[in-house]
Amino acid sequence: MTLHRKFAALAAGAIALTAAGQAFAQTEVQWWHAMGGELGQKTEAIAAGFNASQSDYKVVPIYKGNYTETMTGAIAAFRAKKHPHIVQVFEVGTGTMMAAEGAVYPVYKLMQDAGAKFDPKDYLPAVTGYYTDTAGNMLSMPFNSSTPVLYYNKTAFAKAGLDPNTPPKTWPEVGEFSKKLQAAGIACGFTTGWQSWVQLENFSAWHNLPIGTMENGFGGLGTELTLNSDAHVRHIAQLAEWQKTKIFDYGGRRSDSAPKFYNQECAMYMNSSAAQAGVQANAKDFEFGVGMLPYWPDVAGAPQNSIIGGATLWVLSGHKPAEYKGVAAFFNYLASAEVQAKWHQETGYLPITLAAYELTKTQGFYDKNPGTDVSIKQMTLKEPTPNSKGLRFGNFVQIRDILNEELEAVWSGQKTAKQALDTAVERSNALLRRFEKDNG
């Protein structure tokens, strides 16, 4: 805590220094983000583009570390009253941000107050759905959103006598294909990144199953997880069964399993659409293709649509109205079709507006880069239902940890799928009740 305060103070000092050198006519807007490396450069380029496009405002992007560090840093800064105007928060932090009334300046209100042009209908419903309240108001500005897809090794498919242009559509097919691949000498059929996000949260949306009660938590803080339904248990039990023969092979949390796909140990890999650049760079000795997530054909309504991951921009309250006008102007620039299309094409994140999607299409990007439109097609496959709109749970950072732990207990054979999911739900609900008390 005190360390964060110190950092916040340092950062504020550094900003004050740089500001002193600038022309005083410009109003400054601070933007804390979590995009490192290549993505960081592209993020800073957006701010630079905005600054060059007008002379009233200046957006100052500051890299604050990974998602968790950026979020906790901004919260600590808020407690010390040294917070930025805009902070990038990942999707699991949404519940926490939404509950922080008084700390957050909702985007729809900001745009209204600033008199800026803003129509929520311009945005992809599957993206904004995650970040709107039950009354349909957009609370934060979508920035980088992705959704999990299936990457597969075309070269290995050909070797196993499978059609390299047909990825498996259903889970039974995944099993069948994997056996053929293993017969052809591939060690493992498939692995997954972000197990909770892909195999539980997106699994639910994709099969039109609720993740939690009260519209996946959108309806209020009294929500409870429902990840232990028969369909969930069957899916996890099947993966556990497959783990024994390495049809499925667990490779660690987050994207730690990526090397298994890169070095051709596993022929299929489920992870974020934004991982495509990484796959491209590392798939040196083989061709890869992109397919939609598999589904269980006997579950009614599957496939529905997948949900997003990634982050949005939240505006924190407590600054001057003139500065918020700058924030609104910046958001308008950010949402323009050109900026969004460029961001989408360079990073693999989804375009947040329909216009950016259309623009990318007319530019012929998807024809030149096959597979890049799978994510958006999968996201928009059907009109989102209350089960596939997204999720909104407090303390979800810790709940993901619980889900990770319990799933790992299944993969290693310590627990059955039913036991683990029941415990996971019970433990998560305790945290949800705690959040309800903290914020009630």
Binding site: N404, E405, S412
Partner: protein
């Protein structure tokens, strides 16, 4: 006759102690009291709503079976880290003490790992043991036929963080053991050698007892290190997993507080941890120190 020094000014001893007292106050007493205060509160992440809830945070903790299993893990982890790092350091120090040619080079190389940050140390070992691309995992698989997988197997994961945490501490212990060994009068060892005592006998009957003050000091330091200083290593490697197999008490404090933003729960855990370490240190001083010969 012992000469007694007396101070004429009453304030002088306090003035001399002041800097140390101030540091203790600012860096220990104040944060510790903050933790105590926070542990009886319930607060949302932004600090917008605060409520006094007494011991509810503590009650929640002891109702959580994973918290109780984390005690067991911490105990195993601590014992293993302390004994491995002390054992290896002592062995290396005894050997380095005998080296005549290039002694400085050996010593420098052995001290190096101490300069490595805990998180980096963790990542180094993590890559060496990575089941898909790690060299050690490959050796274990091809030579010994052992399928190392710390992403899945809790035992492997615990072993990994123990190795990473212990490896880093070996250098520190080595430094103190070496200094301790060099302070042992050569004449004692030579006399024993002339009497016909074997090197092993000389070590156990002369060197080891004379080293006991160093060993005791290092034991206390290592236990504190294993309890408090290892969350960086765990955070960079296993994140407490798989299935909570490496979720030690201090990692849980860090994770719940700084990642999960549950400040009350995290503070309650740190208070419990503080009580454990204070009582462990008291036990060490009361019972083990008796066997130390200064």
């Amino acid at each position: 006759m012992i000469k007694r020094v007396t101070f004429r000014h009453k304030w002088l001893p306090y003035a001399l102690l002041a800097p140390q007292l101030l540091i203790t106050l600012v860096f220990f007493i104040w944060p510790a009291s903050q933790a105590l205060y926070q542990s009886v509160l319930r607060q949302d992440a932004f600090g917008l709503r605060t409520e006094f809830i007494g011991f509810e945070n503590f009650a929640d903790l002891f109702a959580d079976p994973t918290y109780l299993s984390s005690f067991h893990i911490t105990l195993v982890f601590c014992l293993a880290v302390a004994s491995i790092s002390l054992g290896f350091a002592l062995m290396l120090a005894v050997m380095a003490d005998r080296v005549i040619k290039g002694a400085t080079t050996y010593k420098t190389l052995l001290i190096w790992p101490y300069a490595v940050a805990p998180a980096i140390a963790g990542v180094l070992w993590y890559f060496m043991f990575n089941p898909s691309i790690g060299i050690n995992a490959w050796i274990l698989r091809t030579v010994f036929g052992y399928d190392w997988n710390h992403t899945l197997d809790g035992g492997d994961a615990l072993l990994l963080v123990i190795i990473a945490a212990a490896w880093k501490q070996v250098s520190y212990n080595f430094l103190f053991f070496l200094a301790g060994l060099q302070a042992i009068p050569r004449s004692l060892i030579e006399a024993a050698a002339i009497d016909g005592a074997s090197p092993l006998k000389r070590f156990w009957t002369i060197v080891f007892p004379l080293l006991s003050p160093t060993t005791f000091f290092l034991l206390v330091v290592n236990v504190v290190y294993a309890f408090f200083d290892t969350f960086g290593t765990i955070h960079a490697t296993t994140n407490g997993g798989p299935a909570g197999a490496t979720n030690t008490l201090v990692y849980k404090v860090f994770n719940d507080g700084f990642i999960g933003l549950d400040l009350g729960g995290s503070a309650a855990q740190s208070v419990i941890l503080m009580i454990i370490v204070v009582s462990l240190t008291v036990v060490q001083f009361r019972y083990i120190e008796r066997r130390v010969e200064y």
